[in-house]
């Protein structure tokens, strides 16, 4: 029945109906289904894309999800970067299409040179899995425009190769151009330079971060928040932000 259809998302954000967001699956990707779910909960249509396909099926934005593509055997993200779908992503990103790289997806974006720097093993050598507090440093990107600058958010973090590194000149450029999008708050969980958790390209359409917004999109299944245990949905704002940027593009 039309009256009881789950139309809340469309009603909450008129004009976004029909937005299509692709989620690429590589061999070894783990979080593609969660990313697809996050896209749907934000009110858009999720399009599953396969790494070996050259076509992005005319999607409006792309998410590179987390996991261990190709086992991370060479370096995290190193082999995925040469997947046929990535050539299309690189071209589309240069044309302004919003691209979000989460965890392993962030590593793929650095290997593809869409974002600077790289990730090496956590300084303490352990895998970390925790609810991570972040500060939003840039609320103007395609994926963060519904946050406030300086806003504290909490989303899950889980990685082994999460230490963001770049040379000092690159780090100064990122800071100077406002391209540090997220910084770790309270504790730096992996030794990342200057507490950097996520960055963007010059244009702000490409964003990469180590923590996982797609795991904090539905009350009851997210991190703890002021509303209660597992109530945190800060990750959903990434996906509503990109819909908002598509409407105003």
């Amino acid at each position: 029945m039309a009256a009881t259809e789950p139309a809340s998302a469309a009603a909450a954000a008129p004009g976004i109906a029909g937005a299509r967001i692709g989620v690429i699956t590589f061999p070894g990707t783990l979080d593609d289904r969660d990313a697809v779910r996050a896209v749907r909960l934000a009110g858009a249509e999720a399009v599953s894309l396969w790494h070996a396909d050259e076509s992005l099926q005319d999607v409006d934005a792309v998410v590179l999800p987390g996991g261990f593509s190709y086992g991370d055997y060479l370096r995290a993200g190193a082999i995925s970067r040469f997947a046929p779908a990535m050539s299309a992503v690189v071209d589309a990103a240069k044309g302004g299409m919003p691209v979000l790289g989460i965890c392993n997806g962030f590593q793929v974006l650095t290997e593809a040179h869409l974002l600077p720097g790289s990730m090496v093993k956590n300084d303490h050598l352990h895998f970390v899995c925790r609810e991570q507090s972040l500060i939003v440093e840039n609320a103007r990107t395609a994926w963060t425009n519904e946050f406030r600058r300086g806003q504290q958010i909490t989303i899950p973090l889980k990685n082994q190769d999460g230490q963001f590194v770049a040379d000092e000149r690159t780090l100064d450029e990122l800071e100077g151009e406002g391209r540090v999008v997220f910084r770790y708050d309270g504790w730096n969980p992996n030794g990342s330079r200057r507490d950097i958790a996520g960055i963007s390209n010059e244009r702000g359409n490409v964003v990469g971060l180590m923590p996982h917004p797609e795991h904090a999109v539905e009350a009851g299944f997210g991190p703890a928040s002021a509303e209660g245990p597992r109530a945190g949905v800060d990750g959903l704002t990434f996906f509503t932000s990109v819909l908002s940027s598509l409407v105003h593009a």
């Binding site: 040469f82 600077p116 790289s118 093993k121 956590n122 230490q163």
Partner: protein, 95 residues
Amino acid sequence: MGRVVVEVMPKPEILDPQGKAVVGALPRLGFTQFSGVRQGKRFELEVDGEVTPEILAAAREAAATLLSNPVIEDVVSVSDAAAVPGEATGTPVSA
């Protein structure tokens, strides 16, 4: 059959957590002589024929584009195994 050996090391300015783990374990076995360890990677690229200058050039390109990430790693050598003493057979060096 020819073989090209490519060696890749973490850049000196990048902290090498793997090397750090190894250097921490050495004293527990009585090896107290070693103050630092850096862990790198060695690739052996096999070719059907001889290792020609063209093959070496291709190996250098592969080393720079896929086998290493210049942000965190240096390619320290690309060599024809046959031209390096002791490398031709790939026999492990015994203690």
